[in-house]
Structure formats: C-alpha cells, structure tokens
Amino acid sequence: MTKYVIKRILLAFVTLFIILSLTFILMKLLPFTKPLGTTSAQIAYYAKQVSLGYVLESSSVIDGIGELLYKYTDSVNMVHYYYQRPIMEQYGNWLVNVFTKWDWGVSTVIVENVDVGIIISTKLPTTIEVNVISVLISVPLGVALGVWAALKKNKPTDTVISTLVMVLISVPSFVIISFLIMTLGYSAKVLPTSWPSTRAPMNTRVLGFIIPVVSLSCGSICGYCRFTRAELCEVLDSDYLLLARTKGLTKRQAVMRHALRNAMVPILPSILAEIVGVLSGSMILETLYGIPGIGSLFYTAVTAKDYNVLMVDMALFTLIGLLAGIILDLSYGFLDPRIRMGEKK
C-alpha cells in the first residue's frame, strides 16, 4: 500500500512537471506581452525579468540574439537594451527559479509587478468561500435525495427525483446561472445581479451568495443523488441485506447499519475529491457572476494576455486535479480494505 501511495504521488509530480514544462514552453512561444504602465514600472519589470534570467540586458545593440523588447536611456545617458533570451535558456532559468527560489514571476497586466503568488492568494479566499458553502449544501442534500429515491425505487417519488436529476444534470451550469440572474436578479429584483463588493451591506453580501451557490450546487446535487441512488439500489438487492432482514432487523436498521455503510464506500471518495476541488472554482460561473476568484482570474489572464498569471493559475488547476485523483483512488483502499489499490493479480 505504502509503495503504491509513493508511486502515485511520484507519478503525479512527474505529470505535473511535464505539463508545466510544456505549458511554459508553449506560453513563451506566444508573442511577448509588454507590460503597460509608467516608465518606472516598465523598467522595474524588465529589471526583474533580467534577474530571473528571462531577459538579457545590454548597453549596446546585439544582432541575432532575440527579440528586442524594450530600450530606454537613463539619467547618465546610457542606453539599456533588453533582449529576450532563447526559450530553452529561459526554461532552464525558470526551473532554477521555481525550484530554488519558488519565484514564479510577476504579473504584467492585471496588477503590474506584483508577485503572481500574491495575486492568486488574494483571489483564493473568495473561491473557497463560495465552493465550501456549495459543498456543504450539495453533499448532504444530494446524498439524502439519492437515499430517498433508492428507498422508494420505482415509485412516483423516485420517478420525480430521477427525472429532475436527469434534466438538471443535462442543463449546463452557465445556462442555470443565466436563468437565475434573469429571473431572480433582473425580473424579480430580489437578488443582486452580480457579486456584491466587499463594502456592500451585510445582507446584500449574503444574498449575493445565493445565485452562484445554487448554480454550483445544482450539478453536484444531481451527481451525488444519481450516484447514491445507483449504489444503494445495488446494495439493497444484495444477499447480505436479505440476510440482515431475515435475522430480524427492521428495515430501518438494515438500511442504516448495512446498506448505507456499504453504499458509502464509492461515494465518500468522490466527496473527498470534491473537497479538494473547492480550491479550483468554476471559471465560467465566476466570470459570469463577477466573483473575484481564481476561476475568473483565468478569464482575466487570458483576455489580458497576462501569461505569468495564467501559467500559475493553470499549475494550480492541474495540481488540484491530480490531488483529487490521488485522494479518490487512495481513499477507496482506506474505506474498504477489500480493495487493494495497485495490487498485482
């Protein structure tokens, strides 16, 4: 087991490394985004790039080395030229910077010359807030609905729940959020039509959570409900449950002590994986509702062509995805000792 865990984690790091390397190189192949802003801010940006080893500073024109990015004349009449280094050289320096100094670079457009890590960390709390609330609502509700549907299998209750789940799981979340903004925001005017700022009154801010949380939860409630129903239906048909009933347990006891516990084995890991996923947020929902989280940061970074921010945002998304995958796989083994992950035949 330990060997398997170590293997999985190592593989995740190898994957992350390869993905980030590819991302870095592909990003560097894109046209260089020159920083906007004042001359002093630009000079500060290029100085930082020189110290990170991505840009070469020279006092004279050099031919055939790379794109000339910027030049300025300083107070003592010396001209500074900034050239882009070859991409593989930049890649080498990037590896050194990340591994030795944990320096991921600075933002060029979004907030000039601010460390990317700081930008991400200011955006993260909002994303986590929204997602945690969504998980807290969707997990119990989804599981409860699933249990209810399974216990009333093939009865009207089950049909209604299953049909609703089928419909809602098919409707994309951005359609749901648009619809909610349209009806509850613009027509009924009971909820804010976009994310209230931090200085808005408390009740407005609380109301501001409703639309994004509902549209985020909708999909996961349906997912959990469907999953729980399928698992529980299977367990309810099993022989050991029949045995439990013949032993004289009431239906309630049999379901609570035997069926649910076993049905939870595949459900719990996906809940754990989702808890890791709260960090990633939904890009589209955050963009549409104007939530200043790391999902909408991705959108902002793409449209503003702020590649350093985009790079780190992507790294974060990938890392979260990998972590969730590992947790999903490993927790199966922990929850049900019969499942030995990675075991040879």
Partner: protein, 627 residues
C-alpha cells in the same frame, strides 16, 4: 416374471381405507417407438445482437422521445439555414434587437413588441420622450402613472443629487456668493445615505467653503470632514469663516464632497441645500429641487444628468412594436443616384426639373410613399440633388414585405432563428467530427494496449496517465492562444486528450474478452491477431464502447460553449457557445437573446443524455437503470 409385468402399489387414504393399484406393462405404450426424431425448425425468428438492442431501445419511451427531438433538431439545423433567406453574415444596423414575432402586433404574446416601462412622459404630445417612433407604440397600450426617474429632465421634479458613487469620489460646488461679515449665514442641507439596498451605509461626506484669495490662489476652509450625520442639518457659517481670518475676498462657494478614502467611499445623496443670509434665502446658491439644479447647470460637479436619483415624474409604460419602428414608414432624405435606380426599375417616376408634383408611384415595390420637398444644391462645381420623402423602410432595405423574425434578431441584426440553426449545425458538426477522430484513435490505441498487454501496455499506459491528467481547458487554451481560434484548431485541441476515455474503456474490454474460450479456440485454429481483434474481441465489446463514446458529442458541445465564455471561442463561425457568450451581455435588457439559445442548448443536452442512456440500456441490459 410376474413382478416384472405387474407392479402392485398400495396406499391408505385420509379416511384410513386401504387401496390397491395394479399396473400392468400392457397399460403402457411407447409413444414414438417407430418414428425417427429430427431437429424441428425453430418457429421464432433468429435475432442478431443489434436487432435485439434495437428492440430493447424501442421499448424505452423517454429515449425514443429524446431521439425524436434530437432528430428534429438535427433536421432543423440542416434545413432551416438553407430555407431562411435572411442574411446572417453581415451587420444590419437598422434591424437590431427585433423581438421574436409570430403573431401580428398587439396580440400581446410573441408579437414582436417590447414592453417599456418607467419612461418619461411628455404631457404636451401625450408620448414618451426619447427616440420612440409614435407609430410604433401599440395603440391603447400606453398607461401613465406617478413614478421616479434617475435622469434629469424637464418633466421631472425633486429628487436627490448623487455625490460620488461606489467607484469614484465626487464633488458638488455651488455658484459663488458674496460674504458680508456683518450678516448671519446659515447653511441648511439634507444629506441622505443608502437609499438603494446595495448602497454602503458607512459612507461619509464633507463640506468645504472655497474661495479665491487676494493672490488668486484657491483656498479651502473645512466646514465638515468625514461626517456621517444624515438627515436635515443646519450649520452656522460665520464662526468658521471668521475663524479662518479671511480678508479681501468675496467669492465664496459651498462644496459638498465624498472623501476619496478607499474605505469610506460610497453614494451619498443631497436632497437640498439652502444658504440663508440674515434670514433671507440666497436663491442663487440654494436648491430644493435637485432635478432643476442639475438642469440649471449653475452648480458644478463631476455629475451628469444621470447624477439625479429618485426625482418624481409622470412615467409611462407601453408596448413598442419593434418591427414598425425598424421597418415602418420613415421620413428621410434620398439622393438622386438611389432615385435613378428606382426609376430605372420602373418603381416610380420623378423629375427634378418639374418638382414634387412629378412624383408618381408605378409599382407597389416602390419604397417612397410620399415626397415632401426637393433640395438641389450646388457647391464646388457639383450639383447635389436630394428629395425629402416618406419611405416604407422595409422596401428601402430590399424586402418585398414586412419581414418576420420568428425568434427576433440580435445586436447585429442577424435573424436569430437562422443564426441559431447555423450555430447548432456547426456545434453538432464539431461534436461529430471530434467523436469520429477520438473514437477511432481511442479504439485503436486501447485495442493495442489491451490485446498485447505487457510492456507495450505499460509504456502506452504511462502516456495515457500523463495526457489524461492535463485539464482539457488548459489544452484548449494553449492551442487557441498559439494557433488561433479556427474550426480546425478546435478539432485538434479537443481531440488531443479527448480519446483517452475511449481508449481506457477499449483496453478494459479487451482485457475482459481476450482470455475467453472462444478466443483461445480461434487462436488454436491458427487465427491471426488481426482476425482475433476484429472478428472476435471487437464485435463483443463494441456495444459498450460506442454507447459511452457517443456522449463525447454533447460533451464537446458543452466544452466549446464553456471555452467561448472564456473568450476563446470560435472566430467568424457561428456555434452555440459563440451565440450564448455573445448574447450574455444582453441579459436583463434583451432576455430572449440569451433565453432561446440557452433552451436549445439545454434541450440538446437532455436529449443527448437520454438517448445515450437508452443506447446503453439497449446494448448493455445488465446496466439497466444504473444511471
């Protein structure tokens, strides 16, 4: 022997009476002793796997409905763009934002009319103010009521002036007045906060007295700084001005402002400001009617007409026929060159030398219905001939009758129905192409992995591990940023990692079937790998693989829409995602533009999922009901 021929059997019945039964061999006869038994031809028809699946599929009602809906949508998406003649490639500036129309105007439902409310009412013309066409207002739909407005206009009164707003600090400065130190000056004002629920109730404001001193430098005396006293307030100014020991100047003005302090910035509202000099109101530097103050223009600030809040006015609501407004009769000026084409087409006659009496309509295709006057001007050696006339605008645009857009038009005047069908067609096309690519590649990849196993499998599985862990959004983002957002790039980007699902499933299926006895039997008979894969293993596993791979199509449509929302969508090609993301900004103003494409998207997704479930139940009956 007797006991061979006779079997004696005795028993006692329930009433304790003894019975004997004697059975002789003669009593038994061979039924078919002289017949040879052959195999009887089966009465039922033999069925194939596919036919059996189809039978099961046709019993699933919801899947059948979904398939029919899907079929209708596909047919419509292919047919309608050909049938509808409206142009969706260029911008039609005159035909933007037409509402969906099926019935004639005034029906109240789906009639191409838009309901306007809270519009300023002009009692002199009995019409709403603004650029509304009087002919297009649906007769009898106009109702007036006492309402409020946030835009200063001459029909409104009262209200509040907004000083600053949630993002910028603001000031409002009165006209100047002359200060006479022998008289008493009292400032009486009414400041309010948080009139709207979204407002911050911790906002502050300040009041300054400004004047230009003897050496022409602007000076400021603070009356209040960062005050949060709201409601009606009275301040005596004498002590403040005297305390500042001002001499030799006279031009004072009162300045209200919101502090530019980051944490203390919001919307505060000034209802009135009265300055009294020895008990007499200085009307030039006072106002009690914010609407009149904004219109008067003697007070200076950063605000515009929109700085007004909650002024009372007679508002009106009405239904507005957008088709009449866009295509109805309009007065316009038409140049000689256009007239010449009309004359050449035989629509009308006109002679500039004779004048407007020479105008005669010859055909009902003629756009011009009435000529008011003609203008002949010459300058720089060029003679410009024009007529001012009334035009039936749809004819002017080249239509023979008033166009009807079933689902309305968007911000560029494109017919939404046609554009939506084109978008659906392209989205479906994208989905099907990507499905074909990823399915065939995934099938081959997974088959090789699963069939050969061992080191080949190990090596290929590592590739899958790495590729499968890259979030698709990152692949698409990188591809689009590097290669541009064309149809081909999308296919490439979505195919790059899209095949992994199919390949994993194929691999599992091959592992499941390759050790089966029938494969072994075939192998012992000397069957080649090719034959084993394509004749034995694949046909057994294809059902499961296809049914799950078919769901690639809706997921591609969904992903494409998601990417469009992130601003990386297709350029120059309509698709559901492009339409949805373009129309997102009209949420709240033209809801139908977002609502209709959303419904199409939702319907497409639901139908695809139900269809997929039906397929799975049909091909894999053991999974039935396990959603």
């Amino acid at each position: 022997m007797a006991n061979e021929e006779t079997i004696k059997y005795s028993y006692t019945d329930s009433a304790n009476i003894h019975h004997d039964a004697v059975l002789n061999k003669d009593m038994f006869k061979f039924n078919q002793a002289d017949k040879t038994i052959h195999d009887v031809k089966l009465n039922g028809k033999p069925t194939t796997f596919a036919r059996d699946a189809l039978k099961r599929f046709s019993k699933n009602k919801s899947s059948i409905v979904a398939t029919i809906i899907l079929g209708i949508m596909v047919v419509l998406a292919l047919l309608l763009p050909v049938c509808i003649s409206y142009d969706t490639n260029t911008v039609h500036a005159d035909e933007t934002f037409l509402e969906p129309k099926l019935f004639s105007a005034g029906t109240g439902f789906w009639d191409g009319c838009k309901t306007y409310s809270d519009q300023t009412y002009d009692p002199s013309t009995s019409l709403p103010t603004g650029s509304f066409d009087a002919n297009a207002i649906v007769k009898g739909s106009l109702t007036t009521y006492e309402g409020t407005t946030n835009k200063a206009n001459k029909y409104a009164s009262g209200g509040y002036y907004r000083i600053g707003d949630s993002s910028t600090s603001g000031t409002l400065t009165s006209p100047t007045f002359t200060y006479d130190s022998t008289k008493q000056y009292v400032l009486n004002y009414d400041m309010e906060v948080a009139l709207e629920p979204e407002d911050y109730d911790d906002s502050a404001y300040g009041i300054n007295l400004t004047y230009t001193d003897a050496s022409s430098i602007s000076q400021t005396i603070k009356v209040l700084a960062d005050s949060t006293k709201y409601g009606e307030q009275t301040i005596s100014l004498n002590a403040i001005i005297d305390g500042a020991s001002v001499s030799g100047v006279s031009d004072f003005s009162i300045q209200y402002f919101t502090p530019s302090n980051e944490n203390n910035l919001g919307t505060v509202y000034l209802k009135k400001s009265l300055l009294t000099e020895a008990g007499t109101t200085l009307s030039a530097v006072s106002f009690t009617d914010a609407n009149a103050m904004v219109l008067g223009g003697t007070w200076s600030g950063v605000g515009t007409l929109d700085s007004l809040y909650g002024a009372s006015q007679t508002s009106c609501s009405f239904r507005y026929d957008t088709y009449e407004a866009a295509y109805g009769k309009k007065d316009m000026t038409i140049g000689a060159s256009i007239l010449d084409t009309y004359i050449a087409n035989g629509y009308m006659t006109y002679d500039f030398d004779v004048g407007i009496t020479s105008f005669k309509i010859l055909s009902d295709k003629c756009p011009i219905t009435q000529v008011y006057s003609q203008k002949v001007t010459s300058g720089l050696g060029v003679v410009v001939k024009e007529i001012v006339c009334q035009v039936q605008y749809y004819r002017y645009l080249g239509y023979t009758s008033m166009p009807i857009h079933l689902l309305g038009t968007d911000n560029t005047g494109k017919d939404l129905l046609k554009y939506l069908c084109e978008g659906t067609r392209n989205s479906l096309g994208l989905g099907i192409i990507i499905f074909l690519i990823t399915f065939s590649f995934g099938l081959i990849f997974g088959a090789i992995e699963g069939y050969f196993g061992g080191a080949v499998d190990m090596a290929m599985e590592r590739l899958v591990d790495i590729l499968g862990n890259i979030p698709w959004i990152i692949v698409v983002t990188l591809c689009v940023l590097n290669l541009g957002n064309s149809f081909g790039v999308f296919i490439l980007a979505m195919s790059l990692t899209g095949w992994i699902g199919t390949s994993s499933l194929t691999r599992t299926q091959f592992y499941r079937f390759k050790r089966r006895e029938y494969v072994l039997a075939s192998r012992s008979l000397g069957a080649s790998d090719n034959r084993l894969i394509f004749k034995h293993i694949l046909p057994n596993s294809i059902g499961t693989i296809v049914t799950s791979a078919v769901l690639i199509i809706p997921s591609v449509i969904f992903d494409e829409a998601a990417v469009s929302y992130l601003g990386l969508g297709l350029k120059g090609t309509a698709s559901l995602g492009v339409i949805l993301s373009n129309n997102q900004v009209y949420l709240g103003s033209y809801n139908f533009l977002l609502l209709i494409p959303s419904l199409v998207m939702a319907l497409l997704m639901i139908s695809f999922n139900l269809f997929g479930n039906g397929l799975r139940d049909a091909f894999n009956p053991s999974l039935k009901g396990a959603d």
